[in-house]
């Protein structure tokens, strides 16, 4: 059995281009990309569900990006250290939020939480805006045949 890597520290910062590279690095398997923030109550609520889903769906790559500002970075560090998620957590690098949102997905309103599902071919197959259950994320994965 492959050991599940538990993360205790931020994986670094990403802009839209470097985030795309990280998604591309998982080519060959579907990717669930989530955006969230420590100030976002629904995000915190769904975080344990995402951790459980990621633990169960080892065939899927989970990538998480916090949009916390620099001033909330300490809270983010503490959160990741305490929760130990089974997926890498990045912080959005400082820079224009509108450009980042549009570069990630022009149809994304900027709402968090937001979840984007990519197929094994790297193409986006679903955008789930707002709070969603693991069942809804799995449904999105099933609809792309995963």
């Amino acid at each position: 059995m492959i050991a599940l890597l538990l993360v205790t520290a931020l994986a670094g910062e990403v802009d839209a281009a470097s985030l795309r590279q990280r998604i591309e690095s998982h080519r060959g398997q579907p990717v669930v990309l989530t955006f969230w923030a420590t100030w976002c109550a629904p995000c915190i609520k769904e975080f344990p569900d995402l951790m459980a889903l990621a633990t169960r769906r080892r065939d899927v790559a989970f990538v998480s990006v916090s949009i916390d500002d620099k001033e909330d970075a300490r809270a983010l560090d503490r959160f990741v250290a305490q929760r130990k998620p089974p997926f890498p957590v990045y912080r959005k690098a400082d820079g224009r939020d509108d450009e980042f949102i549009d570069a990630v997905d022009p149809t994304w309103s900027g709402v968090v939480p937001a979840t984007i599902v990519y197929g094994a071919d790297g193409k986006r197959t679903a955008l789930l805006q707002g709070e969603h259950t693991p069942a809804q994320i799995e449904k999105a994965l099933r609809e792309q045949g995963q």
Binding site: A37, D97, S109, V111
Partner: protein, 191 residues
């Protein structure tokens, strides 16, 4: 030019998917909603204003709350310039009583409408709080998006809402017509 409300009616009659939300250049049919105190406000009563700002806001969203002071100041400053600022709360879990108390606490002088069933949020395509829509005197949408580019207010580089309204007041084209920002989801019925 499309009219968002007309499109909604057509889509409803056809039993098809929801209508496309309002877009820059579309006209809004002025509507009536109750304010948080239960009193009807017909947007048509704002005729004669040079511009109307509709702002989807919340009582519990940290991003919306980060803008409380700025919204209160903006509404006061621009009221004197003939601009109406109207808040809309479409969050199903935020009660009218909570909205009234929140407005009082934060010194909001502007009305806050309660969008029960988030119908107006759907018509306008509002997704986050805070999210603003700027209409000119003929109810044409001229700006849609964030208030500014810095939630903390410490390093604002782009005053998008202010720039849009100032351009309208000066009779100029709005420089940036749409600008997204991170925000809280509008908690809709059925979610």
């Amino acid at each position: 030019m499309r009219i968002a409300i007309a499109a909604l009616v057509v889509a409803t009659l056809a039993g098809s998917a929801a209508a496309a939300p309002i877009a820059i250049g579309d006209k809004l049919a002025p509507f009536t909603l109750k304010d948080a105190a239960g009193k009807d406000l017909n947007l048509a009563s704002l005729a004669g204003k040079k511009a109307v700002v509709l702002a989807f806001i919340a009582t519990q969203c940290p991003v919306s709350n980060a803008y409380n002071e700025r919204m209160a100041a903006f509404a006061k400053e621009y009221e004197a310039k003939g601009v109406a600022f109207v808040g809309i709360n479409a969050n199903k879990q935020e009660s009218s009583a909570e909205i009234v108390e929140h407005a009082k606490t934060h010194g909001f002088s502007f009305p806050i409408l309660k969008d029960d069933g988030n119908k107006k949020a759907d018509d306008l395509g509002a997704q986050v709080t805070p999210e603003t829509y700027v209409f000119d005197a003929s109810w044409t949408l001229r700006y849609h998006g964030r208030i500014d580019d810095d939630k903390s207010g410490k390093a604002i580089a782009s005053q998008d809402l202010r720039n849009a309204v100032d351009a309208l007041l000066a009779g100029k084209d709005v420089p940036v017509k749409e600008a997204k920002a991170f925000g809280c989801t509008i908690k809709r019925v059925g979610q």
